[in-house]
Symmetry: C2
Subunit: 390 residues, 2 copies
């Protein structure tokens, strides 16, 4: 079976963009191509998968083709992949399978979202419809409210309090302050992050990711052509994905995400690694509590000890076994829904090639992980990457 490598990866800065969908996508693709050794010829691309929840720029259908048309990928099979905030995590999986299937040698996986030209009212609509509609949204539950419920229950079940979430926020802002592509490049101290204005009790402003525009693009290649593009490929060693009930009330527990547990165990197993082998992990922290739960579901901390993991700074850059969200994560780097999954790959690609700019390089990063969640956990894709092919 063919092995698959990441040979190029790039993204726009996340934040408020004046440019629209086509401009953002072209920039991300251009940066991905520029990261490839020598002059990359886009006609080498056989197929493309682009993740987006709603694109957001008025063009809703067939937009994947519009984007490849505007980035010199003429005539190739291309489609949108959608799983809410996990859209491009699944685009990556599907691109990886396309190469594994023997049908394509060079495949693009990417993602994009334009959030900031939607009116605030429309924006709430797009976001809200990724959770359960029938039981949650129509009863008034928004995403901050959904994750606030998880946080309250977590504090009730385990030795944890909002202070643990503050530690996550401080860490991710610190990392983001060193990332020139982050939406928010500003460190905050504990005092400030602990006293943000309330959004959904107990979650404050500093517990919630910002509303970002952005695009990201990853170029994958089959083992037999990878060396044509770079001497330092990053290998996709494992891919795992799963789904779960949309509505919280259908789940046996709301302090763990079954989809994350399933997806990560599948990815670890395929890669032949364990959680302790991961040096750098880009984790889906749409809210700080999500990172606490993910550190447990991914196996970095024992069940119920995710709060303690945060409190002890075990995910801080080069301070523990694993650096969590060296990019700043969704909290600080930003969260342009569809772009987030492949944007995480951009960071891991840099880290494993020792190219992380802005002093946020993880020492001796050999094995990386990306964790991309849709909505409140109905879908999840986890990928494991390595500097070595096997």
């Amino acid at each position: 079976m063919v092995d698959v490598a990441v040979v190029g990866a790039g993204q726009t800065k996340y934040g408020n963009h004046a440019s629209g969908l086509k401009g953002m996508w072209a920039e991300a693709a251009q940066r991905a191509f520029a990261s490839i050794d020598g002059d990359f010829d886009p006609s080498r691309i056989d197929e493309a998968f682009i993740g987006s929840l709603a694109f957001g720029g008025s063009q809703l259908g067939n937009t994947a083709a519009l984007l490849t048309e505007h980035s010199a990928m003429d005539g190739i099979p291309v489609r949108r992949v959608e799983n809410a905030c996990a859209s491009s995590g699944f685009a990556l999986r599907d691109a990886w399978m396309a190469i594994k299937s023997g049908q394509a040698d060079v495949v693009v996986a990417g993602g994009i979202e334009k959030m900031n030209d939607l009116t605030p009212e429309r924006r709430r609509y797009w976001l809200g419809v990724s959770g359960d509609t029938e039981w949650e949204r129509l009863a008034g539950l928004t995403f901050p409210g959904t994750y606030a419920l998880m946080a309250r229950r977590y504090f009730h079940e385990f030795d944890s309090s909002h202070d643990d979430l503050v530690h996550v926020s401080v860490k991710n802002h610190l990392h983001g302050s060193m990332n020139p592509l982050a939406h928010i490049q500003k460190a905050v101290d504990f005092e400030k992050a602990a006293n943000g204005f309330m959004v959904a009790d107990p979650l404050t402003l500093y517990d919630c990711c910002p509303t970002s525009d952005g695009a990201s693009c990853v170029v994958l290649a089959a083992d037999h052509v990878a060396k044509q593009f770079t001497d330092t490929p990053v290998w996709v060693k494992g891919s795992g994905a799963a789904s779960d009930y949309l509505a919280l009330h259908d789940r046996p527990s709301i302090t763990q995400l079954k989809a994350t547990q399933l997806a990560s165990s599948r990815a670890y197993s395929m890669a032949g690694v364990a959680a302790r082998d991961i040096d750098v992990a880009e984790v889906h922290d749409c809210f700080t509590i999500a990172e606490v739960l993910a550190t447990e579901d991914l196996g970095f901390a024992n069940r119920g000890e995710g709060g303690q993991f945060a409190r002890e700074g075990r995910g801080v850059l080069n301070q523990g076994d694993v650096t969590v969200n060296s990019s700043g994560g969704l909290k600080s780097k930003g969260h342009p829904l569809g772009a987030t999954g492949t944007g995480q790959v951009v960071e891991v690609f840099k880290q494993l090639r020792n190219q992380a700019d802005g002093k946020r390089q993880v020492d001796d990063a050999e094995t990386g992980l990306t964790h991309n969640v849709g909505g409140s956990g109905a879908t999840c894709a986890v990928h494991v990457f390595g500097r070595e092919r096997s």
Copy 2:
């Protein structure tokens, strides 16, 4: 490399449905499972791909997971695949690649669209955004208008007139009258179809497909497990897909679809067949002119002779070399956008197993084709099927 078979396929009747997304999807899945020999256990399904433009039932994001949750496909990786009206044609391709990749043995490809609980104004919005927005939609061009431009140009370039389109309409209504799952089960005569009220000159009511709700579901299996599910699998012998410029003005010609030409040549080549080998073809006739162009782009007629092909009744059930749209096609069977592509497979599956109900069985149908187009041709997926594995 593993071969892939269709072992089950089912769909709802197309039309106006009282049931919502979950009900329609469960019905299509149930019918697909029922078409499998013996009792099918849905836990055998490893992965799923569901095509939809907009779902249409208020749940916009993560909806693929909501649907698999409600059809006993718990925990599996699932995602929405979107390419406007070609969404489930691409879902089929991606499901096929998932099996070819060795990552899955049993995969579901399906599609769904709920059109009729959108207000007329919203419905125009969903539909319109699948064409080019910047150059076409904002200038007032709708889909009937887009295809009307193609028709006018076709009549200008070649020996053809609106009468040829009437023949397509009469044929597809005749076929649809024999399909109990068709939205419109009513034959029309030439006189009536020639005198429909004008929609977009020269296209009348009888040149345009209806607005349908519906869902379709196809179960694919790897060669080494296919026999566990049926003694009469239908093999996917070739898959081809392509893209093209969204806006008509960017294309060298608007009387042919480059995406159809590319996709079909790739599918024929992989299957080792030529157009003349196809016995039954489900062709994307969102408007009658689209079928005329497709008969040329797919190679059933020479360039410029698609009108003559229709005029001579060469696609009528068992009258020529190939039966075109034995189901009634989009014109008569209906067009629930995301459901259409895998719905075409439902028909070919029945035809190749000699199980087409309602007297529309194509004699000695051994090789079939599905042709699914996104928007006005920006995306296209073509698949070739056969009774024999090789």
